[in-house]
């Protein structure tokens, strides 16, 4: 049969840019293919600040994970983890406590395969392939449940992923799906492309995303706060990414340079 019915499993298509590999490229990695780099270069021509924003996003992740580790959280679920790169969640967390549990979740088959290859020997980390838009399925994964104790607080990381979830897919319900499954004291970490600071050029870049890989939905600070409405925002609330607990005041940058929001919320 030349033509295969659609119930057959999907192909691994490396002819289309992948969000995970393009992001790796922004961060100076080489876990990517020509098609990813060509796409990333087009985005960078429109939005040269993307590299900086990616670095800042990674730095936020590091600060947030460190913060959660400092308040005693010892298990993390990183949703939409992408290609592992310098400063992975488990590296940051293990620098505080080497027994901290980390589960990486991504739907990208290559990112998933690579993550497993890298983390194969680490008993405290697990990689699963799943669609973060289906909280029930993700949380029902036996490997995840083996690693995570839902009676204890969990750090759920939704870093730079929710802007790939359209309103029709009900992002607030997705967030609630994770939050409701976790114990009080759990935290959600969110970074999200912002409406504020989005320029004409960056809009074009978002269009590029829309055409090539994934639709990007920018949201306002209020909308992002709405995504975690059932939870308590940790100080300083929903803010521009670099302003979320910077290590020093002069490390912050403008909206124009990095139009990204960040927030950490606590389940009471």
């Amino acid at each position: 049969m030349d033509r295969r019915p659609t119930w057959a499993p999907e192909d691994v298509d490396v002819e289309r840019p992948s969000i995970a590999r393009v992001y790796d490229y922004y961060l100076g990695g080489s876990h990517n293919f020509a098609v990813d780099r060509a796409f990333a270069d087009r985005v960078l021509r429109l939005m040269p600040g993307t590299t900086t924003a990616a670095q800042a996003n990674r730095a936020f992740l590091r600060r947030a994970v460190r913060h959660l580790c400092e308040i005693g959280i010892r298990q993390f679920i990183d949703l939409g983890s992408g290609i592992p790169t310098a400063g992975n969640v488990h590296e940051v967390a293990h620098s505080v406590d080497p027994t901290t549990k980390v589960v990486y979740v991504d739907i990208d088959p290559v990112a998933y395969a690579h993550s497993r290859a890298i983390l194969a020997d680490d008993p405290h980390t697990t990689v699963i392939r799943a669609d973060l838009r289906q909280p029930a399925e993700v949380l029902a994964d036996p490997q995840l449940r083996e690693q995570i104790d839902f009676d204890r607080p969990v750090g759920v990381l939704l870093v730079s992923v929710l802007h790939f979830v359209s309103n029709e897919e009900r992002p607030a319900d997705i967030v609630a799906g994770y939050a409701s499954a976790t114990a009080p004291g759990s935290h959600l970490v969110i970074s999200h492309a912002s409406v504020e600071g989005t320029t004409e050029a960056s809009s074009e870049a978002l269009d590029l995303y829309k055409r090539s890989s994934a639709n990007v939905v920018t949201r306002t600070a209020k909308e992002v706060a709405g995504l975690v409405s059932g939870l308590s925002l940790v100080d300083p609330g929903v803010v521009q990414l670099t302003q979320w607990r910077p290590e020093s005041p002069d490390e912050t940058t403008s909206w124009e340079e990095i139009p990204v929001l960040a927030a950490v919320a606590r389940r009471e």
Partner: protein
């Protein structure tokens, strides 16, 4: 990328420290690459590297490889973007100028660049290798997943006991499983050459094609039906088919999957069961159910002006054959009849069915007219008359056929078969071995008669009957010597009905007994009233007794009771009996007659001469009078000359009666000539319109009011001469004029003859 600004010269001149270098370096490196370090961590990291570089620059033995290692360490810390190297070289060019020799500084920087390039190259190649390996792993996993999915699917597909076929939306068959091939008798390769269209079967339900088109357009997800397929060898396979739509990732229709279950056996069983349900097991002809189903269809589907007909056939005397030759022979005969009918009258549009024991029906779906139906009935009768061999006997049977033919849109199956049943009974009643064609008028008449008959008992209850009286006149002197009581029915819808409309049917139903008794009682009451009122008048009241009344064992008691109840002198009562009532073969009539005579009542034989009277027997009967049948008297009516034969018969009968000492009454005397001729022949008494119509009691008594004459009442014959009415005797003429004052106008508009002159003095 521009090099960072040189430090002030006074500071450059002083010896560089790792701290100072690290500060400048960290500042220059900020944001050039992503490193997962806080500012302090970064400072500390770079400070370490600076320390090593400074040591190398000022060491006794110069080791330029330190620069190489520092370059590699930068890549290791993920300073992977070239700007980081650029900035590093700029910062070090300045910061290392105060340490060691310029040659050493230059060598360290060169080595650092080489170490950085080598490490970056290694890292890049390693990462490229990793991601490629990851992609391959992902692919092979997807492949494995697909393989196991396909293997599962193939196992299901190949091993399924139901047929599975996959077609694209253009109707090309892409794949079929072995079960499908076995079911349809093709090889997979042959089936893939065929289009879905090829499998449309003429017996497919009308909606199938539409359902399939809806599916292809994506307007429905699946449909299910039972349908036949033609096998390659031409045989039909009945299937339970479920057709489902498969869409692509964008939701567009992509494939059609058919799941085909072979239900041929079940289908044949259903057909067989249906055949059994709709056919007679003995003759294999369609049964009553199928006949009515088909008739219903024909009537439902009938076009305008279409006509339909049935021949309803019943074997004559079948019960006798069954009873005498046995049921086996009866069945055998029916089988023979069925075969004959099937071969001679069934055909396209002509269904022969067995609807009951010995009942068959031919349905003519499109009748050309009654002639066609009659021809079919004739053919059926001819076919049935063919001799049949039954257990060594050659037996010939006949049948009767009821034929109904009518416009399809004016009838229903029930009506049609009711009419056929009625018509079959006509054929039976008319003598069997024949057909009868339904006649609406005859039917309407019968229905009316039946309805009338059915309403008789209630009418008697409600007192709708009344009694009229017709004078009996002594021919010798034309005096009224008696009256005959005649019953009438005042029907609420049909008006006043004479006995000819209801006596016969009341005899059939037996109602004649209570009705006759009522009339007898009523007449006796009236006669008794007259007897008390006019004791001087010698008036006989004559009342008819029906055969069944005479046969009724209680009749003597009834008469006796009525006489004593009313107080009527038995001698004033005459009972009229028909010849058949009197001449019964059994002894009972004679006993009854003797007992009645013993009560003292007179007995008369009514309609004498129409039966076959045993004259010898007549002689021994306690009878007082004969009433000549009206038919003989009618022969005397012609004004010019009477019928000589009738005249002779009447003369002989009168003579006979007188020989037996019986008086003779002539009925139906309508003209003066008749009266004169009867008188000349010696007839004793007469009644008829020549003298008076039957009338109410008070009208009749007015004719013989004793105050009008000192002697017996006399009818003034001349006044009656001109008043004859040409209506049959016994039928009630309308009587519109009230008789409140006991008087009726002479020559009334309705032509009723009344003796006006006599009556005229009656009330004065």
């Amino acid at each position: 990328m521009r090099a960072s600004k040189p430090e002030p010269t006074d500071r450059a001149r002083s010896a560089p420290t790792p701290e100072r270098i690290a500060r400048a370096w960290a500042r220059a490196m900020a944001g050039t690459s992503y490193v997962s370090m806080s500012r302090r961590e970064l400072h500390s990291y770079l400070s370490g590297l600076a320390s090593r570089l400074l040591s190398a620059a000022t060491a006794e033995t110069f080791e330029p490889s330190v620069g190489y290692e520092v370059g590699a360490a930068l890549v290791d810390a993920h300073f992977t973007l070239p700007t980081s190297l650029d900035r590093t070289l700029c910062v070090l060019a300045e910061q290392l100028s105060g340490a060691g020799t310029p040659a050493r500084a230059s060598a360290l920087q060169s080595a650092l660049a080489a170490g950085y390039a080598q490490a970056l190259r290694d890292r890049t190649l390693a990462e490229q290798e990793e991601i490629r390996a990851a992609a391959m792993l992902a692919r092979s996993e997807a492949e494995a997943a697909r393989w196991s999915s396909e293997a599962r699917f193939q196992a299901v597909f190949a091993g399924a006991v139901i047929g599975i076929a996959i077609a694209d939306i253009d109707g090309s068959i892409i794949d079929v499983n072995q079960t499908t091939c076995d079911m349809l008798g093709y090889t997979p390769a042959e089936l893939r050459q065929l289009a879905v269209e090829r499998f449309i079967h003429p017996d497919d339900a009308p909606g199938v094609r539409d359902a399939y088109q809806d599916l292809l357009r994506g307007e429905r997800e699946h449909f299910r039906l039972e349908k036949p397929y033609y096998r390659k060898d031409g045989q039909a396979v009945w299937t339970d088919l479920v057709v489902s739509l498969i869409r692509d990732q964008e939701g567009q229709p992509q494939y059609v999957v058919a799941m085909i279950e072979d239900i041929t056996e079940r289908h044949h069983l259903q057909i067989r069961l249906r055949h059994q349900a709709l056919h007679d097991p003995l003759t294999q002809l369609p049964n009553r159910t199928l006949f009515f189903e088909r008739l219903g269809q024909v009537l439902d589907d009938a076009e305008e002006d279409a006509r339909v007909g049935v021949c309803y056939l019943d074997v004559d005397g079948f019960k006798m054959i069954n009873d005498t030759l046995g049921h086996d022979m009866g069945d055998y005969l029916l089988l023979g009849v069925a075969r004959q009918l099937h071969s001679k009258v069934s055909g396209p549009g002509q269904l022969v069915a067995r609807t009951g024991g010995d009942e068959f029906v031919v349905l003519v779906e499109r009748s050309a007219g009654p002639e066609q139906l009659v021809a079919i009935a004739e053919a059926a009768l001819t076919a049935i008359r063919e001799p049949v061999q039954l257990g060594g006997h050659e037996i010939t049977v006949s049948a009767s056929v009821g034929v109904v033919e009518r416009a399809a849109d004016t009838t229903s199956a029930t009506e049609l078969m009711k009419a056929a049943d009625t018509t079959l009974h006509w054929a039976k009643r008319d003598g069997k071995n024949r057909w009868a064609l339904f006649d609406a008028d005859r039917h309407a008449h019968e229905v009316a008669k039946f309805e009338l008959s059915a309403s008789l008992p209630a009418a008697l209850e409600r007192g709708e009957f009344l009694v009229e009286y017709q004078p009996l006149v002594r021919l010798l002197d034309e005096t009224v010597m008696g009256v005959e009581a005649l019953v009438r029915w005042r029907h609420p819808k049909l008006g006043l009905l004479g006995p000819d409309r209801f006596i016969e049917m009341s005899e059939e139903t037996g109602l004649i007994v209570p009705l006759g008794q009522w009339v007898l009682g009523e007449a006796c009451r009236q006669a008794a009233a007259w007897q008390r009122q006019y004791p001087e008048i010698d008036l006989v009241t004559s009342v008819n007794l029906a055969v069944r009344q005479v046969q009724d064992p209680g009749i003597v008691d009834v008469v006796s009771a009525i006489l004593s109840e009313t107080g009527l002198d038995p001698a004033k009562l005459q009972l009229e009996l028909t010849e058949s009532a009197v001449m019964g073969t059994a002894g009972r009539p004679l006993q009854t007659l003797n007992a009645l005579a013993g009560l003292g009542v007179r007995l008369a034989i009514d309609d004498f001469g129409t039966g076959y009277s045993n004259l010898a027997y007549l002689r021994s009967l306690p009878v007082h009078s004969l009433k000549l049948a009206g038919s003989f008297v009618a022969g005397l009516r012609p004004p010019d000359s009477p019928d000589p034969v009738d005249k002779e018969i009447v003369a002989t009968l009168i003579k006979l009666a007188h020989t037996l000492h019986l008086t003779v009454t002539a009925e139906g005397v309508e003209t003066p000539q008749q009266a004169a001729r009867l008188r000349a022949l010696g007839c004793d008494t007469a009644q008829g319109w020549h003298y008076a119509m039957p009338g109410a009691a008070e009208e009749v008594i007015a004719l013989l009011n004793p105050r009008s004459t000192s002697d017996a009442p006399t009818l003034d014959a001349p006044t009656l001469d001109a008043t004859t009415v040409d209506v049959t005797s016994g039928s009630a003429a309308p009587k519109s004029a009230p008789a409140t004052n006991g008087r009726r106008p002479g020559a009334a508009p309705d032509g009723v003859a009344v003796p006006t002159s006599t009556v005229g003095t009656a009330s004065s």
